[in-house]
Amino acid sequence: MPETDGEDTHTMFADGRTLHMRCAAAVALLLLLVSILAPLPAVAATDIVAEASFVPITATIDVLDVSFTVPPGEFQTPVDLLIEFPPEMNAAGLRGTGMRLSDKGDTVRPPAISASEKGVTFSFTASVPPAGTVFDIQVLGLATPEQAGPVVVPVKYGEAGSLQPAGEFTIDIPKANILQRVFRGMEKTPFLHQFFSPTIIWGSLPLLWRGFQVAVLILFVSYAFGIPLGLTFAFMKMSRLAIVRIPATVAIDIIRGTPMLVQLLLVYFGITYLPAWNSLMSALGPLAEWQIYAISATQFFRAIIVLSVNSSAYMAEIFRAGIQSIHKGQLEAARSLGMSWPQAMAYVIVPQTVRRVLPTMMSEFILLFKDTSILFAVGIFELTLQARTIQAAKFNMSPYIAAAGFYLMLTVPLGRFVARLEQRLSVAETGRGGKKRGKPKGPLADKPVPEEVISATEVGLR
């Protein structure tokens, strides 16, 4: 597609990386990407898709500068330019004015262009080596003007001061749809912009999603560890032996009687002063430094310790109340059949308890999910800290609104599910004889209270 001049002709893509050319550099493609639908963080929700058409350009002289003029309009976000060079050129020390090399060896990313600027010029410190070099210039995050219609973008190249036109391309800007107009209206209303900015919410989604993943991961692991721990606490607290019962009682009192934030700060940072912890971590070696979602394993461990132990104390009370809510005749019946206490627990009491505590345990799950938010205090990038960081950068409250949406995404459906479950279980319950006379009269005739009692007294304390 692109042409070159002179005797050394090259097609751009096949062998454009060779540097044996003498003549003029070839400026091939100017790629302008203006996109809204792709979920790129840099693209605002108010942006409008405009498809650019490109003119192939054949350069006849050395290129020091490339310049083009973006359409007049409002920039919602700074324009971001991305220029790709063949790696050999970087090796040759090529630098654009005000450009810096990015991590990728063959990419140069100039500083973002301020919103007021309409013209964009790249300058190179030296003339671009002759023909056969491919420039791939992308313009990202360009907000298009409000007026619809075609916009002509002229492109020039050459040396500064003597730029010659290389051609032009046209971008056709479609009419804003209703949603886009509503969003733009919102951005112009100070209150709505401050709390519900579509652009900022849209832009914060990728990071918030990451934070959501972190929160959910910690939630699941903490909850999973909390269950056996909570069961242990529950049985300890029900023990007749004071030496077993008292430590559990004290631990549960302390955990439930102090703010989780205090526990978090104390344990999360305090644990690193314990030689045992440090030797454990060094024993883990590289595993301790292993990262997931940019959070190290040690951070995860510490957070999970706090959350699971904290949760287990609440679970212990749920389990204990659940076990004690089982009619004592059940245990007696099991024992009178010759079953040992552990057998009676395992096959008769606990299976019934599970059904009874299920709704409350799911409520605990929801509570624990919300509690992951306090991890922001120790710098774990979960949902809340992600929102806070964006808020601080943008001086805008909208990320908190978006974060709240993420929390609700899980808590509301789960809460509904718990409510239905409670209803179903309370219907399915009964039939356990008890003090009532004769058969149960109806599904709700013998509705027991354990769930309500537990959730009101045990969980509600938090």
Binding site: G329, A333, L337, M339, Q343, P351, G431, R437, K439
Partner: protein, 247 residues
């Protein structure tokens, strides 16, 4: 300890207190093999506590209980072993609500007697047939009437091959029309030669089935004898008073 070979349950000097409350104040009782003993008495007289002490659901404060010569009240005795031979049926049925009828009858067989699933099921169905509930094997307790639940509870106890059965006011929680079906099962059990200790208020049952009737009050046995002796010619004033009220 000398034990008459025919004695199934031997109780001597049994005392039981709950904190300051003295419930049993020295009970002596022998129950012979195959004997049906019905225990009567006003509420609070200690009848149920007596039964519960027999299979170790309550620890005796003083005194001794032997079942087939094994001392229940000794700490060295494995109470679970004793309980395998002592079936108990409760006022409140206490079926396991999370299991089907069949599951209720099979559970302890599997876990205590370690019977195979197949054998446990065979025995469970046999016992359910015995109480007339073969068609309810897959029902959950909540789907059964009180009388049916109580019969399942009896089958559950019988499946463990007990040598003695304890019945603790098993018809008290039932609607009147359901009492009969449970009593019928107990009667057939008695006819089959099961050793039974029955706490009940069903005087008709006591008269028809009991080999011996015991009247208890205030934690001691006030009077005992054949049904005819106790019902028709009570000696003790309180027995007379009680029987007068009951009828």
């Amino acid at each position: 300890m000398t034990q008459d070979r025919g004695v199934m349950v031997h109780i001597e000097g049994l005392c039981k207190s709950f904190d300051d409350l003295e419930v049993l104040k020295g009970v002596d009782l022998d129950v012979r093999k195959g004997e049906v003993v019905v225990i009567l008495g006003p509420s609070g007289s200690g009848k149920s506590t007596l039964l519960r002490c027999v299979n170790g659901l309550e620890d005796a404060t003083a005194g001794k209980i032997f079942i087939e010569g094994v001392e229940v009240t000794s700490r060295k005795t494995d109470i679970n072993k004793v309980r395998e031979r002592v079936g108990m049926v409760f006022q409140s049925f206490n079926l396991f609500p999370h299991l089907t009828t069949l599951g209720n009858v099979m559970l302890a067989q599997r876990k205590v007697h370690k019977r195979s699933k197949h054998e446990a099921e065979r025995i469970a169905r046999e016992q359910l047939g015995r109480v007339g509930l073969n068609d309810k094997a897959d029902a959950f307790p909540i789907q059964l009437s009180g009388g049916q639940q109580q019969r399942v509870a009896i089958a559950r106890a019988l499946a463990m091959d007990p040598h003695v059965m304890l019945f603790d006011e098993v018809t008290s929680a039932l609607d009147p029309e359901l009492v009969r079906e449970v009593l019928e099962v107990m009667k057939s059990l008695a006819r089959a030669g099961m050793t039974m200790m029955v706490v009940t208020h069903e005087m008709g049952f006591a008269r028809d089935v009991a080999d011996r009737v015991i009247f208890m009050d205030e934690g001691i046995i006030m009077e005992q004898g054949t049904p005819e002796e106790v019902f028709d010619n009570p000696q003790d004033e309180r027995t007379k008073d009680f029987l007068g009220h009951i009828r």
